[in-house]
Subunit: 513 residues, 2 copies
């Protein structure tokens, strides 16, 4: 394309009525002309004055476009002799077809993946296929979600405004060293009293939540191909994090006393064991003291790391909160992880871990190196919130409220089903598992219930292998008291249809009528 054609080509495309500035339009058109080869390498561009006159636009606009084209390497400007189209064609040599891996040393380096290149990876595809995360995160009976409407937002906002006003610039930078120190002190005090965790503020590392705490532990303490015990069933998020970091999962069954490894499990000590002793997730039993002591001793003998996930331990309605497993650990093998998402609000994304003293430096370096953490301002707000006593009083208030809702939901279950459907789980947490009859497909019930506007989760999706129980994770914490009955009536209809065929028969007879 010579420069006369260039004028025509640009003129035909410039749209002065569109909202886009002429500068951007001209720049983009000229870039396109170079990239497609319409303006060949070496072509001399018209002077800015000529182009401006011919196109009827300001000369300054053309000058800016030429400058930008030059900065981006589309053209080369030589003082005195003018502006030329640069040779920006891809390097033919680099793109020459070459026999794959003809170099034997290079062949050894060839990627191990057998998945078609350029698409998802095997682990990526697996992650997506097995994803447990739900599109809706709120409403009856979403499990694991607290009632954020009850969060003392005004108090939080007041503390936040005060801290932003004080303009401590250190709180706006990165945060190496495991997090805001006053928050670590406040949390260690809280965990010592509330959870019998044995720790100093130095042992606390602030993270964005349980996912990150587990991820960090995995990357520091395990290698690709190592085996990890997980409870069967367990939280889907744990499986995803462990697998996508290259660990092999060894699901270990749970019974009424918690984790119950069989002979074959015991013969093959894992590198890591992930447990929820205070309140098994999702079934809700408590790990017995004998089992705790056995696990700790076994871990000591075989040098197994234990992650104790203490995810909603504050909410016990029958008795006081149970002591942590970490508090019984004399060998420094337990990594205790918790989060404030279920206590305050999920969007907060502040979690904590308590690491053994001899591992403190590694975890502090690791968290900064891998995640480049910050959010000190928010950590400072939380520290004030805890130190002013708001955490304790909020927990106390929510414990009463959630206990009430739990009871309302149980009453609704009993009213509809008598004792036909068992409520599994200790009197704790934000959900229980509503048992379904053996032949009933809990995934189908979940889907039908979602259609009807009620969220539950199928127990089946928490198993790595074949589910041994059928049930629905049913959350009561985020449902206002007056909605519990009506929402359960909707769910009950779906269950009846699937489990007992009652409404289904009814619907059939209505349709045929």
């Amino acid at each position: 394309m010579d420069t006369v054609l260039l004028f025509d080509w640009i003129l035909a495309r410039l749209d002065r009525t569109s909202g886009e500035p002429v500068y951007r339009q001209l720049l983009s058109l000229m870039q396109q002309a170079v990239l497609t080869g319409q303006l060949a390498a070496g072509t001399k561009l018209p002077s800015s004055r000529t182009l401006a006159t011919d196109l009827g636009i300001a000369r300054n606009t053309v000058l800016h476009v030429y400058d930008q084209l030059s900065a981006e390497g589309y053209v080369i400007s030589t003082t005195g002799s003018g502006t030329y189209v640069a040779d920006t064609r891809p390097d033919a040599e680099a793109l020459a077809p070459r026999p794959a891996a003809c170099d034997p040393k290079a062949a050894a380096d060839a990627p191990v993946s057998t998945f078609p290149r350029g698409g998802m990876s095997v682990r990526g595809q697996r992650l997506i296929d097995e994803a447990g995360v739900s599109a809706k995160q709120w409403g009856a009976f979403m499990p694991g979600v607290p009632d954020v409407a009850e969060f003392p937002a005004r108090t939080w906002s007041r503390l936040q405004a005060r801290l932003w006003k004080s303009a401590n610039h250190d709180l706006l930078t990165y945060a190496p060293g495991g997090g805001y120190r006053p928050l670590r002190r406040a949390l260690s005090d809280y965990l010592r009293v509330a959870r019998s965790v044995r720790c100093t503020p130095d042992q606390i590392v602030i993270t964005t939540g349980i996912h990150q705490s587990i991820d960090l532990t995995v990357r520091l303490l395990t290698d690709v191909g190592d085996r990890a015990w997980v409870e069967e069933p367990c939280y889907w998020g744990v499986r995803s994090v462990l697998q996508s970091s290259g660990l092999k999962l060894a699901p270990v069954p749970v019974d009424a006393e918690g984790l119950n490894p069989g002979e074959r499990d015991l013969r093959n000590p894992p590198r890591l064991a992930l447990v929820t002793p205070s309140h098994q997730y999702p079934l809700g039993m408590v790990m017995s003291l004998a089992r705790r002591r056995t696990l700790l001793e076994y871990a000591r003998q075989h040098k197994v790391w234990i992650i104790e996930d203490d995810y909603d331990s504050e909410f016990r309605y029958g008795s006081r909160p149970l002591a942590s497993l970490q508090g019984l650990d004399d060998a420094g093998q337990v990594i205790y992880v918790g989060s404030l998402g279920k206590t305050l609000f999920p969007g907060l994304r502040i979690g904590y871990m308590v690491v053994p003293e001899h591992m403190v430096d590694a975890f502090r370096t690791g968290v900064a190196e891998l995640y480049r953490e910050g959010q000190l301002m928010q950590q400072a707000v939380l520290a004030e919130f805890i130190m002013d006593g708001h955490l304790t009083s909020h927990v106390r208030r929510m414990r009463a409220l959630y206990g009430e809702r739990r009871q309302l939901l149980i009453d609704a279950v009993t009213q509809h089903f008598g004792d036909a459907l068992p409520v599994m789980g200790d009197e704790a947490g934000l959900h229980f598992v509503l048992g379904l009859p053996e032949g009933c497909d809990d995934r189908a019930v979940t889907a039908a219930s979602y259609e009807a506007g009620v969220i539950v989760r199928p127990l089946a999706s928490y198993y790595s292998g074949q589910p041994t129980r059928k049930g629905l994770l049913t959350g009561y914490a985020c449902v206002p008291n007056e909605q519990i009955g009506p929402a359960f009536a909707t769910l009950a209809k779906v269950i009846e249809e699937h489990a007992f065929g009652r409404a289904a028969r009814g619907a059939r007879s209505r349709r045929t009528a």
Copy 2:
């Protein structure tokens, strides 16, 4: 220990003058007695009335302790017949020594790691050994850190207060779906105009920053053992994230035109290539248009994913910002990642990625599944901040300020060293590399300078292999104008000592005098 001895043992240990409530002391003592076996399994505890009288404490306290011991499984209470110490000893059978992996199927499952069990893993140790993160994150001449004191904190705080007041509870829950939609819209508008990125709001996924964006990409698009091209030298954080996810790094040299793969590199297409085309990190050159087109075409032919890290592209002092590589990508192979940490403040932890349309669903699911993200309130504040025009005006203001500081620092360099020490890098970003003479150890200069109160970073630590250049990453953005001269004088003294031996000789002569 019988119950009379129990009284004595407890009495000797109860400390009524300590701040700890008697309830907690008694509970802890009885737990200890059970755990150590001093109270043997099956022992009948004294009645609460007796124990209370003998210890001289309230009966209610003892009742609470017994309840808690029972809840935690230390004792078993039988109505009518009393309270007995439970058998909580570890399961002897589970702990029986067993021949390692006598089951052949189990042996195949044995962990692959050869690292001593129970300590750090190989990848964990490597992560810590090679960690690049610095303990100090602020001050002259910390590279890569903006001036947070200039951030319009009052504006931010005002927007934040308003949003918290409106109490939209949806903003307090988890955030599936890639982030707050108005923010994604605001960012896509911004990126289209400022960076010539081609995207719709749907293609934007909000993350906590570049680390998380890279981590997510790696887990979705690569498998353990796959090879990744990284620039040599490159940002340390990238190396750490990739390696700890099981990728093999293939460092590819850069020259004045950016990434410059050799014949051997080209013969072995990686699964992933990570580049910084707008402003190579840390050396600062711009990838030429020809190289960009070559890389895109090579990636298309060999199905290589490209991550474009556009980390501080807003700050160009000589010319307008350059267009992104993503804008040239017709094959949907570029994952564009950026962050607002360097533009606003590092502690914010909000980044974004632009993913090809056919990958949107996978990335949205992946980010929710792996990281359980939230922080919608903060995302909403940021969206308002951008939509009200504060981002653009802040960038404009900072560009002028940092440009000024860059010039002040260059003037200081010239004043001290003439042209003996080259300033490497395009006129952009928050730092430049100050070249050192070949024989000079940049790590030693860094350490000595740190001692003298000035932070720099050694270029050596950005190389995966043998460094081919010596230099110091020197940041000017977060240093008030008036401190630049004095701080550089300190640094210059250290450099003279190490590079030219001047001050060292001076010191020697003073000492011998």
